[in-house]
């Protein structure tokens, strides 16, 4: 940060993008939305998962998605809009097939995250919250993603990309651009942002068994304990 830029004028805030009314929500989606609402003791609890599902279908929180959620839950579209604009994972406009996140909260930023964001931004030719013209990538400057022992951290479609370096970032983007198989360091094979959103809505993609049990840093303490013969005291269970 140069210390100078500070956004203070917000011409487009307050609403989802109403200029594009398109939707791919069909009867199947509506049935799935209703099923989500039925999972909870009170239907409105399903709103966050429902909006994830809307994103998986429409690539964003679409006007139609808002209205359908409102109707299913018996609340006003304004109330849904209030929720949809509160949470950062809900997009107002279509993003890329792959949604790339670079963590620039203090620790990651200091350890190289700022430089990675510059690099990724330069390579993709877009700034944060923008999408490449080919619809392949969108970029987000993300806040702390609970992977600090793997800093600096990036994400693709909310999969961990740990211990990033400029070289790894370069290859990651090249591979994704070329549709080569990319695997998360602590997750599954990268699919797409929309497929990720469907999992977050609660619809499994069957990939839970992919990836390791834990990353190297997660295992460090356990490994040192094993090496040193340290353990918790013996309890009744043992």
């Amino acid at each position: 940060m140069s210390g100078h830029e500070f956004q203070s004028f917000f011409p487009d805030s307050g609403e989802v993008d109403m200029s594009d009314p398109s939707t791919s929500i069909d009867e199947t989606t509506i049935a799935e939305l209703r099923a989500l609402a039925a999972r909870y003791p009170q239907p409105r609890s399903a709103l966050l998962p429902m909006l994830h599902l809307v994103q998986s279908v429409d690539g964003r929180v679409s006007p139609a998605g808002i209205e359908i959620c409102a109707e299913i839950l018996g609340i006003t579209p304004a109330q849904v809009s209030g929720v949809a604009t509160f949470y950062t994972m809900y997009r107002r406009r279509p993003g890329g097939k792959h949604h790339v996140g670079v963590c620039t909260t203090a620790l990651c930023a200091v350890m190289g995250g700022d430089a990675l964001l510059d690099q990724v931004s330069h390579k993709l030719g877009i700034g944060p919250d923008e999408t490449t013209p080919d619809g392949k990538f969108s970029l987000e400057r993300i806040e702390c993603n609970a992977a600090c022992d793997f800093a600096p951290v990036m994400t693709v479609n909310w999969e961990f990309m740990d211990n990033m370096t400029p070289q790894k970032a370069e290859k990651l983007l090249d591979d994704l651009a070329a549709d080569r198989e990319v695997t998360s360091t602590r997750g599954a094979t990268i699919t797409s942002w929309r497929e990720a959103e469907r999992v977050l809505a609660g619809y499994s993609d069957g990939r839970a068994d992919e990836g390791p049990s834990a990353g190297e840093a997660s295992l460090l303490g356990k490994q040192l304990a094993d090496e040193n013969g340290w353990s918790a005291p013996k309890g009744e269970q043992a």
Binding site: S8, G14, T76
Partner: protein, 812 residues
Amino acid sequence: MSVIAKAGQDVAAVDTITVTIDGIEVAVPKGTLAIRAAELVGIAIPRFCDHPLLDPVGACRQCMVEVPDAGNGRGFPKPQASCTLEVANGMQIKTQHTSAIAAKAQTGMLELLLINHPLDCPICDKGGECPLQNQALSNGAGESRYQGVKRTYPKPVPISAQILLDRERCVLCARCTRFSEQISGDPLIALVERGALQQVGKYADDPYDSYFSGNVVQICPVGALTSTSYRFNSRPYDLVSTEVTCEHCAAGCTLRSDQRHGVVRRRLAAINPAVNEEWNCDKGRFAFVSGRGEDRLTTPLVRRDGELKPASWAEAIDAAVTGLKVAGDKVGVLTGGRLVVEDAYGYAKFARTVLGTNNIDFRSRPIGAGEAAFLAERVAGRTLNDAVTYADLETAGTVVLVGLEAEEEAPLVFLRLRKAVRKKGLAVKVIAARLSNGSSKLNAELISTVPGDEAAALRGLELPAGAVIVVGERAALAAGALTAAAEVADAAGARLAWIPRRAGDRGAIEAGCLPNLLPGGRTVADAAARVDVAGAWEVESLPTAEGLEAPAMLAAAVDGQLNALVVAGLEPVDFADAAAVRAGLDQVGFLVSLESRASEVTERADVVFPVALIEERSGTFWNWEHRPGAVGQVIRGTGAPMTDLRVLAALADGLGTPLGIRTTAQAAAELAELGGYQPAAPAKAAKASTRKAAAKPAAKAAGSDGEQLVKLSTWRQLIDGGRGQDGESAMAATAKPTVARISPALAERLGAADGQLVTISAAAGWYTMPVAISADMVDGTVWLPTNSAGTGLGELGVVFGDEVALSLGGEE
């Protein structure tokens, strides 16, 4: 020093605890918030989000106080928001007056509220009455330490045709969103975005069209919400305020009417805890310009050679006196429902003592058989002490609504019911053809009823003790419904309330503007009552025969039984059969009209007297509870025309029987002296209504061309084609659309899809409008608004409960 707070209206014992605020001890009910307790000892803690009628939110953090002892010997380590802090026994509270910590917290908060606030006070509507401005002046720093950039947005954003939003000015107190969600139940605005970008928003093309939207302008503690009609209109300190009672319905809201240079600029809800608390509806707030049109009558008119010509007052009075002398006692008096009680009393006395007739009726609307008797037995002569009140509704436990669509017809009754539903577990049952949006917001149980079957529905009720049955004026149109309501209430030990629609209706009954009623609930049939009133009026006797009801008067005018009509403000379309009204007005021998604006009556009249607008005079409206509400004179010295009472007094003088009263104050005093009256024997039933059932739509045979014969359900929508709303276009733009509602089953039989045009026809005519298929509509029934744009049911000659023909298609 010690102060004992009043425990409010509840006399029931409450747990009282003692707290000390800035060294002053005060006893308050348990559960009292610190900010309220401070108010009781005269300490004003600054605040923005706090509002006594909204749920506490603690958002603005302006009202911080120090609590060195929470009542348990320990203090809070941090300052506390006094708007969310319930006091505890023995609690010590130090406000900005005695605590440096509280004072700094408040000053600091004010600074934070101001860093992003624009410095546009000189052009802001709120400037001069702005809590933020006031507190910045009284508690704020002289200079800003903020060197950053202020947050800006495009502005203003219309959140409805009537309400505009300046997001930059907003302090995010959430009063408006809490009002819309909690009080009126219209969460069409919500907080959107988050953090520093949080703002009030609506959804796309779903505007904040709430009947109560104007309240958010009033409770906004800054100038973020303004109204289209008042924006940039006046400075608050240039306005002269007068307290009035709203003239639009029988709710009886106390309003503050603000004028400048002899023109009313705006109206606000005044504080009247017993009635409207601190709210009002948009009609009461915004619809006050109807008297400013070119149709305003400014001089008397007399018909000469078939044409109405301006005349002097003396000429007009002479002409009217001459005409009325010829008519003798064959005169009818139609007063309408818009008169203050003093004027209504003037007409009642004028009819009896000057004209010598009981032909007087205020009901410029469909009338039901037995209604007048019901009004005499169950409504008239009650006082506030023995009538159902707002407070009674709030504590009823169960309220049944029959023939009343509260949100549309008595909006503040609706708000009170909603409050009781939210706060006191009130159960509402609605006997109606559909579950309206308003009923949904009351969580009401719909007793789905085909219009006309209300009596059976009532008799099927099982009511818990303490319940209240509320009947609207439309209930009179369902055979036996009023009787059933009274009997069911009596049997269940429930209470009964009648809520009319117009502001003057309740007073008109007390004043004696019914053919069977004298003032104070005395019946015409009661000889002792007649003697009583005659004595008070210093006349030998009063006419003994009950008079004609309004439709009968109009019919009698056609067939020559009546020679003259004296008519105050009314519209033919409001009657069951507009054509019959016009025929009566056309064919009566002599027609005197007292009006403030040209109307269908004035254009037919022989003599027209221009009378004052409500803002140009004083008076009293008695609301549905029988509670008097003063109407202050807002505009003075504008050469205002006379009151109805003044004109009647002049006519009486000319007719040789002085009225004895000519000022509002005199009329009020005389009516008060006359007082109520307990009849010696039960009143006899008044004669049945003379309204004939509307002719069957016989033009086409039922079933032909897919036509369906259905029952008509209807009510007036709050914002509609009523003339009192003329000239207020922004409010009109927030009105509900005109649609015909039918059940899915009826739609299927009709072959109609949502939004398609349907035609509703009766003998006197037809209307075409889009159809709305509503799952909650009872089958075999069509619902139409009574008097919305493009529909005046009086023109069709049909009323609630009549049969109409419904067919697909038509031309708008």
